[in-house]
């Protein structure tokens, strides 16, 4: 009797569950005017000038606009700027803003907002800082006009103002941009195609953006971060809680989300076969892996030892291990992203035409004394986790002693900032990945800052010749000279072994088939999309 009652109760529960499930289909497809996106990371910092984190940059693109942008052919094109002039001596730049630019609070965008925004950006961004070493002053002769006066001519004003990746020179209201560059802003008013719904933002849960009805897009078709930023949905929701790869795939297959920004490689073939899912082509500029030496500590204070590593590190094993899907990776014998204006094989023979035997010979000739290489491996970052294992194996084959140390990413980033010797917690090598636009020219590429211990980025390579070439590059105003200098810089970089490029890959995006409007963005950009 008791057991019969128990079975009856269970049946009642299952019926209730079935009734709960009856709203599934409608729920799963969601509102036709809401785009549900799973970003590659959790959005925590909402100030894209304060941090270089890509997720904050992507948040910036939703709500801010830029003076210039970079199109799919890597050309700088105007965005908020209508017209501009450059004086014959290249020292006076005058910019006029487009008509109708308005912040989300209804106030017009003026040149004072622009100047304040650029000043704040210049204090944080490496390329911005480099630009500001040339700037004598800026002024605002009219509400829609601002001028940049240079102390001497430099050839990267537009490249800096139109740089597509962190830190992007987003334009904010003056009252916001006047915030100390080392403090985060707390007012997210922008003039971009979306408005940030701060009241609906729940850290680690959800970020919400709504269409900016007053945004005036340019007339050109969208391309890269330029062109017309048309919005065809009412609302975009970023699902910040969905971080497990399998759960993301399940949600996409069921239609509970519309886009996975960074589909894990292991789900690529599954997504390809699913009739409801597409893998839109959105990038022609790849991401690049690299191994970075610590030039301060033995044995990588010896250029011959570094060149032995360059010879040992064939790119293919790294790509095969980390990416695995052949159509998503390619070797690239360039420190500047392949397929971009300065990408070339100049000077790369030490790596691209090398083999392990040569690496062993170079190591022997270097006088390497058997000092173990402390190679740091992150255990919680799937995007680059396998690279150090491959690196350790190749180093050992070349004749190095390797101390592969596993740690979580936070420990790694803390440790790589240390200039201490190994016995006091220092390091010899770590590996990482860059978006192509962060390393595509000698000014943006942080590995080319070879000021030694005074240089900004970890590794602290020192080479005055490369620095001099870089300074020349900054001052070159014609493209042919820039290309020649970039090739010379790269050749020198390979000669001294600033770091080791480990090949390039595409990060697939997956979307439901009813989403259209994808174009070449070379980033994570969400205008022009329609949900059918």
């Amino acid at each position: 009797m008791l057991i019969k009652r128990a079975i009856a109760a269970a049946a009642a529960v299952l019926s209730a569950a079935a009734m709960l499930g009856s709203g599934g289909a409608a729920q799963a497809q969601g509102d036709a005017k809401t785009l549900r996106i799973v970003p590659h990371s959790n959005l925590a910092i909402l100030d894209p000038i304060w941090t270089t984190a890509y997720i904050s940059r992507n948040h910036g693109y939703m709500i801010y606009d830029t003076l210039f942008g970079t199109d799919e052919k890597n050309q700088i094109k105007p965005q908020m700027v209508d017209t501009w002039t450059e004086s014959p001596d290249h020292r006076l730049w005058t910019f006029k803003l487009r008509k109708g630019l308005e912040f989300h609070d209804g106030k017009p965008v003026t040149s004072e907002d622009v100047v304040a925004s650029l000043a704040r950006w210049g204090k944080r961004d490496a390329m911005g800082s480099a630009l500001f070493t040339f700037i004598d002053r800026m002024d605002t002769p009219a509400p829609d006009t601002f001028r940049i006066f240079l102390r001497e001519a430099c050839g990267f004003v537009l490249e800096a103002l139109g740089k597509p990746s962190s830190n992007v020179p987003f334009i904010m209201p003056k009252r916001v941009a006047d915030t100390d560059a080392f403090k985060q802003i707390d007012d997210y008013t922008g003039s971009g195609p979306y408005i940030f719904k701060r009241d609906e933002f729940k850290p680690g849960d959800k970020a919400v953006y709504v269409k900016n009805p007053k945004y005036v897009p340019r007339k050109e078709p969208p391309s890269g971060t330029t062109g017309g930023k048309h919005v065809y949905v009412d609302r975009v929701e970023w699902n910040l809680a969905l971080r497990d790869g399998q759960a993301q795939m399940n949600a996409l297959q069921k239609g509970e989300v519309d886009i996975i920004e960074a589909l894990p490689f292991e789900f690529y073939e599954v997504a390809k076969k699913d009739p409801n899912i597409q893998l839109p082509k959105y990038a022609t500029v790849n991401l690049q892996y690299m191994a970075r030496f610590n030039h301060l500590n033995k044995p990588f204070d010896n250029v011959k030892v570094r060149r032995a590593v360059l010879a040992a590190f064939n790119q293919l094993p790294f790509l095969q291990a980390q990416v695995g899907v052949k159509e998503l990776y390619n070797t690239c014998p360039s420190m500047f992203t392949c397929g971009t204006p300065y990408g070339s094989p100049a000077g790369s023979e030490i790596q691209s035409k090398s083999n392990m035997k040569k690496a062993q010979e170079l190591l022997k000739a270097s006088g390497y004394d058997g000092t173990p290489i402390v190679l740091m491996k992150p255990t919680d970052l799937a995007a680059i986790q396998k690279l150090p294992d491959v690196g350790a194996q190749l180093l050992r084959q070349a004749g190095f002693k390797v101390d592969l140390q596993a740690m979580d990413w936070n420990t790694l980033v803390a440790r790589r900032a240390k200039k201490d010797p190994i016995d006091k917690g220092g390091w010899n090598m770590f590996m990482t990945a860059w978006q192509g636009h962060d390393i595509w020219n000698p000014i943006a590429n942080p590995t080319m800052d070879t000021r030694g211990v005074d240089s900004g980025w970890f590794g602290w390579a020192k080479d005055d010749e490369l620095l001099a070439l870089r300074a020349k590059f900054m001052r070159a105003t014609d493209e042919a000279t820039k290309k020649k200098l970039a090739a010379a810089i790269q050749t020198r970089a390979f000669e001294i072994g600033t770091h080791v490029p480990l090949g390039e890959y595409q990060q697939p995006m997956a979307a439901r088939k009813n989403i259209s409007g994808f174009f070449i963005t070379n980033g994570n950009i969400y205008w022009n999309l329609k949900k059918n």
């Binding site: 925590a44 941090t51 850290p203 809680a241 936070n410 980033v413 803390a414």
Partner: protein, 313 residues
């Protein structure tokens, strides 16, 4: 009773104080730098140093502790380095999903496990008893995420009955709230059903061997009344203890389930805060969990009074 209550609450203070000091020191002794994570990959060493200074992390540890403790005494858990939000507000935002999941899990577990355990004890050695023992071993052994993926595959992807992921707030409607919680609660409840059923079985078996059960049967009471009114009532104390521990664990430690089902709960917040070295959030969360554990233990101890009239405080 009131004296007992006051004494127990007062005893919480030194416990929380020790926890506060320990967690503060442990965080600062572990490797990692919140400033480096906040700055992003392309940041320079100078930028990281600037952020470290702005967070007050360049001050001596004793000074940092003094500042934090002074705020704590005023009820201020501080501001998250990572989210730039008050820690109390962060905890508040994550409380509803966690409490909802915990409540539904325990409800399912108790409704299923207690009757199963009682019947298994009543029919000791029978097929139900053996099945329950086998199930409980499985329940303890299968990792939560494996079970989660199996249930998602079956109930969400194949049958389309329930959603794959996410949490809907109660304010958005009870139906969606329940639909989104059903699968995660079902997943989590398996291990608690296994645990509570075993404890119930053992406890009821012991009670069934007592003289008063023989008396109750001799008086002609129905078997159901004997089991529930006499055996279960007297076996309740260990069962309630295990349920209490389960509630405390559910509130603090279900990060795997929260990750698989994308539930923005306290477990996920804790792991994210630890990985990001978000010191104020970790400190606030550990203090909060400590307080919850103390509270749950107190409520469990107080509940003994209802089950055993001999217990008086």
């Amino acid at each position: 009773m009131l004296n007992f209550l006051a004494r127990r609450l007062f005893a919480t203070i030194p416990v929380l104080l020790v926890v506060a000091v320990l967690v503060f020191l442990l965080l600062r002794l572990t490797p990692g730098d919140p400033a480096a994570i906040l700055a992003g990959d392309a940041a320079s060493t100078d930028q990281i140093a600037g952020i470290r200074a702005s967070l007050g992390l360049d001050k001596p540890i004793a000074v940092q502790f003094g500042i934090w403790f002074a705020h704590l005494l005023q009820g201020d858990l501080g501001q998250s380095f990572y989210y730039k939000t008050q820690v109390a507000a962060l905890i508040g935002q994550r409380l509803e999903p966690t409490l909802s999941l915990a409540a539904l899990t325990i409800l399912i577990a108790v409704l299923v496990a207690v009757p199963l355990g009682v019947v298994a004890a009543w029919r000791q050695g029978g097929w139900l008893d053996r099945a329950l023992m086998g199930f409980s071993v499985l329940g303890f052994s299968v990792p939560v995420f494996v079970l989660a993926y199996i249930l998602i595959w079956l109930l969400s992807l194949k049958l389309g009955v329930l959603p794959v992921q996410g949490y809907q707030r109660l304010a958005d409607g009870a139906g969606p709230w329940l639909r989104h919680l059903a699968l995660p609660a079902l997943t989590l409840s398996v291990i608690y059903v296994a645990l509570i059923a075993r404890v119930t079985r053992a406890s009821v078996m012991e009670a069934l061997g007592e003289d008063y059960i023989r008396t109750a049967r001799a008086k002609g009471l129905t078997e159901a009344r004997v089991l529930v009114r006499h055996a279960l009532a007297n076996a309740a104390i260990p069962i309630v203890t295990v349920i209490g521990i389960g509630i405390a664990l559910l509130i603090g430690g279900v990060v795997v389930t929260e990750s698989v089902y994308a539930i923005p709960g306290l477990g996920r917040l804790t792991v994210d805060a630890v990985l990001a070295r978000d010191f104020p959030t970790v400190q606030g969360l550990i203090l909060f969990f400590s307080f919850i554990y103390v509270l749950v233990n107190l409520v469990v101890d107080l509940s003994y009074v209802f089950f055993d009239p001999r217990i008086r405080y």
